[in-house]
């Protein structure tokens, strides 16, 4: 123990939020220490799966099943997990957690510098006041302390740096952003769009708004349409901490990064009412160190940030740091995922595409937009991500009988066009959906393991049925045949949009953070990752974390300069 170094600010975590915190803080002149529990990773050089040819991928791309079952049973459920990306992910065996009986939770975690910003699906959608006012309107959860007007300029600020491609459509509840030229819908998606938009007054389809550049800018390249972004992109066409915020922060000369550094807890000094130190365990040597700074930005991810706070007990905060309200660990949310409608789109057998577009289409929420719909038996709503493509040889070969020349020649041609719509449903905030620390079980660092106790409720299950029914209806309107659907049954966490557990609010007795992402009771503590979320909306959350982080840093540095922190 010992070795103390002075910094102006400490940022815990290097993912989407941590990267933004480091960039903003260093650019405002602060000396920043970034602590990352994962391994070092060099942009480009360590993307060993990037552009890997099919013939170089082990086992023809089949999963090494024994290894995954033993060491990656949770991580391997992620769509982004395979042998080209495994080196980015957490090893489940070495990083255990528990759940309440019969309440599974998928905690997907990266284990490298850059975190899940390397692995995210890059979809970018602004929230609107339909989202920020939702809790107040129907009484689930507490009111957000902010509205769209508070965050709108910060959305613009981060989008300009991120590089978001998309199409401006003027949807009132899905605001347009600062867009680079949109990616193109394919010929079948355009037909589906026409079919859907001409059949419904309130349903629209647009190309996915995605943090993948269609124009080179700021030293980052434009997308070259190789396809699997999650393997890493050495030209930095998609936004990650590695491609974007960390280089910007490094350029200031004021960023120090320590990887393999597990934050165990934060020390609280009751006399100053401030965090006085950050306790760190070196994951290689197991040596313990304490680092000190005026400001602490907790950006370790929804669950990991709250784990650190719950583990930081003191006489003042026996239930966890900044947890006077008792809300810490509660109101854990995700999005329902996996409910999908699909169908075959006939009439385009002579049409195909070239390039592997890392993006799909989006259908914004249409349920309960102007008040509660009378024919809908759930609150709030959902949106769809989807797309059209032709089935490939892998999917078709098992459906074509026989063998020999005719069989081989039949696989020269792609299969039918399919179109699918996958719903993302809002998850109501609920005090009983929570995470705690299981003091009886510790990890290899001696830190109490996270215990999840969360399940989707009646509202989410009703919504899933509607996602399937309406998805089928829209595919029929789009001209699809053989339309079907499946109701997703994935547990919370599987959407990898976990949110809440240290929510924002105006009332310190009901919330952990104020409207600036600052802990009500600990002025030098800011939490700007998904933990801060007071509700979940139905749109992908990352761009909101980025905007909130930049906004929080602006406030924190102003307060620091004014001598208030």
């Amino acid at each position: 123990m010992t070795q103390t170094t002075e910094f102006d600010a400490i940022v815990v975590g290097s993912g989407i939020s941590g990267g933004w915190a480091a960039k903003e803080l260093t650019e405002k002149g602060l000396r920043v220490l970034m602590l990352e529990r994962g391994k070092p990773l060099q942009h480009g050089a360590d993307y060993k799966g990037e552009h890997m040819a099919p013939w170089d991928i082990p086992l023809g791309g089949k999963p090494p099943r024994e290894l995954y079952e033993e060491q990656y049973p949770v991580q391997s459920t992620s769509y982004a997990f395979d042998e080209t990306t495994r080196h980015f992910f957490n090893n489940d065996r070495d990083n255990p957690y528990t759940t309440a009986v019969d309440k599974p939770f998928d905690w997907i975690r990266a284990d490298v510098l850059g975190g899940r910003s390397l692995l995210w699906a890059r979809q970018v959608y602004r929230w609107s006041d339909l989202d920020f006012a939702a809790n107040k309107k129907d009484g689930h959860g507490i009111d957000w302390p902010i509205r769209y007007k508070d965050i709108a300029p910060w959305y613009s600020y981060v989008e300009k740096f991120v590089g978001v491609s998309g199409e401006k459509r003027g949807f009132k509840h899905l605001p347009d952003g600062e867009f680079q030229p949109p990616m193109e819908m394919n010929v079948v998606e355009k037909a589906a769009q026409k079919g859907i938009e001409s059949s419904y007054d309130d349903r629209f389809m647009t190309i996915g708004r995605v943090a993948v550049q269609t124009q080179a800018r700021n030293g980052r390249g434009a997308c070259h349409y190789c396809g699997p972004c999650q393997r890493g992109c050495s030209v930095g066409a998609y936004f990650s901490s590695q491609s974007s915020t960390l280089p910007a922060a490094r350029n200031t000369g004021r960023l120090t990064i320590l990887t393999d550094s597990v934050v165990e807890k934060l020390d609280y000094d009751a006399a100053t009412q401030r965090i006085s130190g950050v306790q760190v365990i070196d994951s290689n040597s197991r040596e313990k160190r304490v680092y000190r700074a005026k400001l602490v930005f907790l950006c370790a991810s929804t669950v990991a940030s709250t784990q650190i706070l719950l583990n930081s007990t003191s006489a003042t905060f026996p239930r966890g740091l900044a947890n006077r309200s008792g809300a810490l660990g509660r109101y854990l949310m995700d999005h329902t995922l996996g409910t999908t409608a699909y169908g075959i789109m006939p009439g385009f057998d002579d049409k195909y595409y070239s390039g592997n577009r890392p993006n799909g289409i989006y259908i914004p929420r249409f349920r309960n937009v102007d008040g509660q719909d009378t024919d809908v038996d759930f609150l709030r709503g959902y949106g769809y991500q989807g797309g059209a493509r032709r089935l490939g040889w892998k999917e078709m070969s098992g459906r074509i009988s026989g063998f020999g020349k005719e069989f081989k020649n039949s696989l020269k041609k792609p299969g039918p066009w399919i179109m699918y719509l996958a719903g993302f449903g809002e998850h109501l905030p609920d005090a009983n959906s929570r995470m705690t620390l299981d003091k009886t079980k510790v990890d290899s660092y001696g830190i109490a393991q996270v215990k999840f106790d969360s399940a989707f409720g009646d509202n989410e299950n009703k919504m899933r049925k509607d996602i399937a029914t309406e998805g089928e209806g829209m595919l029929n309107a789009a001209g699809a045949v053989m339309v079907g659907s499946m109701i997703g049954s994935g547990p919370p966490g599987a959407g990898i949009h976990e949110m809440g557990t240290a929510r924002m609010g105006d009332d310190p007795t009901k919330s952990v953070l104020n409207k600036w992402n600052q802990a009500h009771d600990v002025p030098n503590l800011f939490v700007t990752d998904g933990a801060c979320m007071t509700s979940s909306s139905c749109v992908n959350p990352s761009i909101t974390y980025m905007a909130l982080t930049a906004r929080a840093v602006d406030y924190a540095v102003t307060q620091l300069s004014a001598g208030n922190i």
Binding site: H224, R357, S397, G402, G404
Partner: protein, 192 residues
């Protein structure tokens, strides 16, 4: 010293007097073997080579053997298959030989091309009860022998350099997305 791969090549050619010309040629040309696997006996390896080439033969593009599929199958059966899957596969090979002994009074590898093709068709009929691939094209662990060897042949072939670049189209750096292309201008599907 003659390595095992050479032995299989030799055995295939020596045995295969009744084989089709293209199959004989493919077997004689052999493949670049890593020599890592010796799970199959020479007889079994020969059978697997012949079957893979029957499933994806040499046409205007190279077939399964030239693409290294027999090695791929051996590696998957030896290292990737579960014990249960392996048993189904090995039993399937044995049953195919047994079928040939009954029908043609000789083992599969000694049959002529017409007999081998008929025998493989028989094997396919034995798999007709199977429900088939899931949505993503993966076969279940309990899939019967023919389904299994066809799946491995297809996977090995279309993920090989020959399969991906000569039979299908492969372009790791397309540089653009065009969502309205005439298939006739491409003629072959993308390998991804």
């Amino acid at each position: 010293m003659v390595n095992r791969r050479e032995l299989i090549k030799w055995a295939s050619v020596a045995l295969g007097t009744g084989l089709s010309a293209s199959l004989q040629q493919a077997l004689a040309a052999g493949v670049d073997s890593t020599g890592k696997h010796d799970f199959f006996t020479v007889e079994q390896a020969t059978m697997v080579s012949v079957i893979s080439e029957l499933i994806i033969p040499t046409t205007d593009t190279p077939g399964a053997i030239a693409a290294g599929v027999p090695d791929f199958i051996e590696a998957m059966v030896a290292d990737w298959y579960t014990a249960g899957e392996r048993e189904i596969f090995m039993m399937g090979l044995a049953q195919l030989d047994k079928h040939c002994l009954t029908q043609y009074k000789t083992v599969f590898s000694h049959c002529d091309a017409v007999q081998q093709s008929s025998a493989l068709s028989w094997s396919e009929t034995q798999s007709k009860h199977y429900r088939g691939a899931d949505l993503l094209g993966s076969m279940g662990s309990d899939a019967p022998f023919f389904t299994k060897i066809k799946e491995l042949t297809v996977l090995g072939y279309y993920t090989s350099k020959i399969g991906a670049t000569q039979e299908l189209r492969y372009n790791p750096m397309p540089m653009a997305y065009n969502g309205d292309v005439n298939f006739s201008d491409l003629g072959r599907q993308w390998s991804y």
